[in-house]
């Protein structure tokens, strides 16, 4: 499969990105290209301009200082993040999530900015032009009037499956977005997502993600991301769960729990967090938190995986991720 034709632009700094995005409608940013280029080959995306931002070294940094926390430039690769010592030590769930994305080559290419911005996927949408052109109807995601995943659905039911977002949510990350005016906006990563499959994040065409920041977790904090996929590599999760637990004086002071591959975006499970916070963590309590997660999620079926199974899996993964985080937290 060949890429469609486009004009290629290569900004040298952050300011140039904004001006290029403003100047050129129908432009798309690429960094690793691992998500966008396949979609361009399939003619799902056919921009007039491709703006390659990988020459901007500033955006590749992974910086950690105890006081400042962790700052990841949006171009930091998943491989570098997964192998970064401070990330492994202090933000374990993120290192684990980044280290389980796809394959070594795709982690070398793929960036954190790209991973959090991955669109939802669906077997009726992520197909080639040759495949799609014969379909008698368009689905919501292609601007049509229906969803093939569930007959009669009023919304697109494409599945969000990125690995790092639940880890970032559990760790309390913030995203810095640069808008059309060049002004920076910092938001909690949860608010980055629309929970709508048709367009999963809030980015406008002229926006871009500059960096991600995670405050240094308090003492006694440990985190864990667990992914279950059909195979060990080159795969999206059937379900993924991240837990970040702060234990102090034998009690859970704080908890962040989030899951992925269940719906239109990564999902924070406050109900499960609340079960833990303020209590001493026992196996029974963890089971309760897992039950709360199970009660809360209403997964979408995806491909050959049923909603029933995803929900069962969320219960198990939430339980196990809390357990693993706590076993280290003690």
């Amino acid at each position: 499969m060949r890429l469609p034709k486009f004009e290629y632009l290569e900004p040298k700094n952050v300011k140039e990105i904004t001006s290029l995005l403003k100047k050129n409608e129908d432009a798309i940013l690429i960094a690793g290209g691992t998500d966008i280029l396949p979609k361009m080959k399939q003619r799902i995306v056919t921009p007039k301009y491709v703006i390659n931002i990988t020459k901007i070294e500033d955006l590749k940094k992974i910086e950690f200082a105890e006081k400042k926390g962790l700052t990841l430039g949006s171009l930091a690769t998943l491989d570098n993040i997964s192998k970064s010592k401070p990330v492994i030590e202090k933000f374990t769930a993120l290192a684990q999530a980044a280290g389980r994305v796809a394959s070594p080559q795709l982690r070398n290419m793929g960036t954190i900015g790209g991973n959090i911005s991955i669109e939802s996927m669906c077997m009726y949408f992520n197909q080639s032009h040759e495949w799609r052109k014969g379909r008698p109807h368009l689905c919501f995601k292609l601007g049509g009037d229906r969803c093939f995943v569930a007959k009669g659905s009023k919304d697109c039911l494409a599945l969000f499956q990125a690995d790092t977002p639940p880890a970032l949510i559990a760790l309390g990350a913030q995203v810095t977005i640069v808008g059309a005016t060049g002004k920076e906006k910092i938001i909690n990563i949860e608010d980055f997502y629309t929970q709508k499959s048709k367009k999963v994040n809030i980015l406008k065409p002229t926006d871009f993600v500059k960096q991600i920041h995670i405050p240094t977790p308090p003492k006694g904090t440990k985190s864990c991301y667990l992914k279950m996929a059909q195979r060990a590599a080159i795969d999206y999760p059937i379900a993924g769960a991240a837990a970040c637990i702060t234990v102090s004086g034998g009690k859970c002071k704080n908890a962040g729990i989030a899951v992925t591959a269940v719906g239109s975006g990564p999902l924070r499970l406050k109900e499960a967090e609340e079960v833990l916070i303020g209590n001493s963590i026992t196996d029974e309590l963890i089971e309760k938190a897992a039950d709360a997660a199970y009660e809360k999620v209403r997964p979408m079926p995806h491909f050959n995986i049923s909603a029933w199974y995803k929900r069962k899996l969320i219960r198990v993964l939430v339980k196990r991720s809390i357990k693993q985080a706590c076993s280290k937290a003690k």
Binding site: M1, E130, M228, R231, A232, F303, Y309
Partner: protein, 772 residues
């Protein structure tokens, strides 16, 4: 002293340096001057009459050099079964649709343009008017009485029925103390070679066409291409460069082969077509998905008395190997156990889906899953050790089965013992903690089909020619296809051993229809016994010619000579010898002709015969391989995940010409059946293929594969070259049931529907717990 100097050795493949340096040129790596790029327009409806194809806009697009449709090809369809005695109308596929399309992905037109971008653009400009017909996506729908016929030549949508009855099953069941009956189903899977199909065709002004194809069967392709183009076979030259895996699915003459030639003829320029991975999924041959009803009658002591087997296969839109597939799904149940009596009905049904053909373990994978799983149930019910029940019923060397298979050698018992020992069966079976288990399964397979499915009057089943050079080297010409299994090296090792020279003295020229002897290609695990057999005969004949000359030169009796270390010696008199190089020169001086030899392999008289696929009593192969897999698994009872820890895979390959290659075949073939057991699932919805990439089609990665311990068993066969039998398809037939049986040992559930996904395990576990 060791018996052999070249065979039985772990020698690197002849092509290995070319393959590690990027030097090996596959079909898609050929770039000819002026070469155009071709693309195929495919049907977007599952079943329709074609009312009109308007190619005018595509033809006018700048850069387009040729457009071809069904009008540009002859009226001779192709299919894998071509020989006259075929009892069914089996050739039913046109390279480009002639009136109808029968599945989404069916080929309608082909375009050649100056580059791929233009060819793709041109496809969108071709307008096809259809009259849509009702479409059927399951055998049940397709077999409904009022269903529209998918092929006019067939009376219904049943593509093939094969049935036969061996012995007397009524009596067999009457004599049985227990009758076990069960239903099973298996999924469509894909061969999934990493190299997509590729073709480069160069039709010259003189009317000859040369093609470089990614194929397993260059001679069959030559015939199909000649017939499709309406030109004599001798005008078509097919060259098979290195092929990036085939696994059965490259035995088809897929449309790119013929279309590239048609386009090249039209455009007067070479044309390359490479299938996208998506086209591989939507439009190439798959393994049959089947539903099975199986009945086994046994005595209290475990003796099998009767088997009644009904297979129902989704064949997709075309016949391909159809009758062979259905025949061997039945006949390959007659081993490694004696079945007492056996009745089989195999029904293959046309549906509006991509067609099913031959894939590694062809026809053996599905029934073996059923039989070996049922053997486990039976042994449990009768309280007989699963090893014992298998040994008790096992066929033995020297025996002829009820299906008339002559068992010349049989290493089954040895394979079974070694596999279970390796897995630690005694200490593990029924003894591991909940969630952990071991399972075993045995298998057998044919070493090549002893029928000519394709040619009415082939010169032989396999032919090899050898040229001698004056520097003491030999060039071996073979029509067999090395598609990655290493058969060129195997044949060279056989010839080198026979000629008493090192492997480095043999060059191989293979799979070029203009220069190599006619061969049926690589399928049915035939190459070692058939091609290797021919190589041994050709080398022996060469040796005799050399001995004739050397006898004069050494003033010795020809019968006293032996060839070793690149010299010819008088046995027992090491000081009397002459080099092979000097002998070749001596031959030239004396005979004034080139020194060549040839050898042809044909199966012995008690094998093969008339191709009556409607009879079960046919000895299908010169000899049979045997084996056992013993597997250990962990099952996560909360998630349903199965982690296969180890597979001990013992295979009786007769004699390992190259043990490293045999191990490679065992290890590699298991990757496919491991995947079919647990991961791989080609899915369609209303005729639409939705598994179109290696992202959605879950082939096992390096991190998924269990530890595989290959165990080579050598039964030294009387028919195979140096005692060798097949080691390429039989090697993985037992994997799936051994995993399923291990899952049963681990968590007590019988999985009868492939693939065994975590979700299915969890549902089965819940059902089991709920039932308590």
């Amino acid at each position: 002293m060791e018996k052999y100097s070249v065979i039985g050795k772990r020698l690197p493949r002849l092509d290995s340096v070319a393959k590690v340096t990027g030097d090996a040129k596959y079909a898609g790596d050929f770039f000819l001057p002026g070469m155009l790029h071709g693309k195929i327009l495919r049907s977007t409806v599952p079943h329709a009459k074609i009312l009109n194809i308007d190619t005018s806009r595509a033809e006018k697009l700048p850069g387009v050099r040729a457009v071809a449709t069904g009008k540009d090809i002859s009226d001779i369809p192709h299919g894998f079964i071509r020989a006259a005695p075929a009892p069914f109308f089996l050739r039913d596929k046109f390279s480009l649709a002639k009136e109808k399309v029968r599945f989404i992905g069916d080929e309608i037109a082909a375009v050649a343009a100056v580059d791929e971008d233009t060819a793709m653009e041109a496809l969108d400009l071709i307008k096809v008017d259809y009259e849509e017909l009702p479409a059927y996506f399951s055998p049940q729908e397709s077999m409904a009485l009022d269903a529209v016929r998918i092929h006019d030549h067939a009376e219904s949508n049943v593509s093939v029925v094969i049935s036969f009855h061996l012995g007397n099953i009524e009596q067999g069941f009457a004599e049985s103390d227990f009758v076990f009956e069960d239903n099973y189903s298996t999924q469509y899977i894909l061969a999934s070679y990493i190299e997509p199909h590729a073709a480069v065709a160069d039709f010259s002004q003189s009317g000859n066409v040369t093609l470089w194809l990614s194929t397993q069967t260059p001679f069959y392709d030559r015939t199909n291409i000649a017939e499709t183009l309406g030109i004599p076979e001798s005008k078509v030259r097919v060259i098979k460069p290195p092929v990036g895996g085939g696994f059965g699915a490259k035995t088809e003459t897929h449309t790119l082969f013929t279309a590239s030639a048609v386009l090249s003829r039209k455009a007067g320029r070479p044309v390359k077509i490479i299938y996208s991975r998506e086209e591989e999924f939507t439009s190439t041959a798959h393994r049959h998905g089947v539903t099975v009803n199986h009945k086994i009658g046994v005595k209290k002591d475990g003796t099998i008395k009767a088997v009644d087997s009904k297979f129902f296969a989704d064949g997709g839109a075309y016949n391909s190997h159809s009758a062979i597939s259905m025949f061997i799904m039945g006949t390959l149940q007659n081993g490694p156990y004696n079945m007492g009596s056996f009745k089989y009905e195999g029904i293959r049904v046309y549906t509006n889906k991509p067609f099913a053909g031959g894939v590694r373990g062809h026809g053996a994978i599905q029934p073996r899953f059923v039989i070996e799983t049922m053997m486990d149930s039976i042994s449990e019910k009768l309280d007989i050790d699963p090893i014992e029940i298998r040994k008790m019923n096992a066929v033995k060397a020297g025996q002829t089965t009820i299906s008339k298979f002559k068992i010349r050698s049989c290493g089954h018992t040895e394979a079974l013992d070694k596999a279970v020992e390796e897995i630690g069966w005694k200490d593990k079976w029924r003894k591991l903690p909940d969630g952990k288990g071991v399972g075993l399964a045995s298998m057998f397979f044919a070493s090549g089909a002893a029928f000519s499915f394709f040619y009415d009057n082939p010169p032989s089943f396999s032919g090899v020619k050898i040229n001698a050079e004056t520097d003491g080297n030999f060039t071996l010409f073979t029509g067999t296809s090395d598609i990655g299994q290493g058969s060129e090296t195997t044949l060279a090792q056989i010839a080198a051993e026979e000629l008493g020279v090192g492997l480095n003295k043999i060059s191989v020229i293979a799979s070029d229809t203009a220069t190599t002897p006619l061969d049926m290609g690589s399928y049915s695990s035939r190459v070692t016994v058939f091609g290797g057999g021919a190589a041994k005969i050709a080398a022996y004949n060469m040796k005799m010619k050399l001995f004739d000359i050397a006898a004069d030169m050494l003033e010795a009796n020809k019968d006293d000579l032996e060839a070793k270390n690149e010299r010819i010696y008088v046995k027992g008199t090491p000081e009397k010898s002459v080099s092979i190089a000097d002998t070749v020169i001596g031959y030239y001086n004396k005979m004034k002709e080139h020194l060549t030899s040839s050898g042809d392999y044909n199966p012995p008289a008690d094998v093969g015969g008339e191709m009556r696929l409607d009879l079960g009593e046919v000895n299908i192969s010169p000899t049979f391989s045997f084996g056992t897999h013993a597997t250990e698994v962990d099952v996560d009872k909360e998630t349903g995940e199965v982690k296969v820890q180890k597979i001990a895979a013992a295979h009786d390959c007769g004699f390992a010409i190259n043990p490293m290659a045999v191990e490679g075949q065992i290890e590699g073939s298991i990757q496919m059946t491991f995947g079919q057991a647990l991961l791989e699932d080609y899915r369609m919805e209303k005729g639409w293929s939705i598994t179109n990439s290696f992202i959605d089609y879950k082939m096992a990665t390096s991190e998924d594969m269990p530890y595989i311990k290959p165990i080579i068993v050598e039964s030294i066969d009387s028919e195979g070259p140096f005692g060798a039998k097949e080691a390429s398809e039989g090697t993985n037939v037992a994997t799936i049931p051994s995993i399923a049986n291990a899952i049963y040992d681990a968590v007590g559930i019988r999985m009868k529907d492939l693939p065994i996904t975590p979700e299915k395990i969890l549902r089965a576990l819940e059902k089991k717990e709920g039932g308590k």
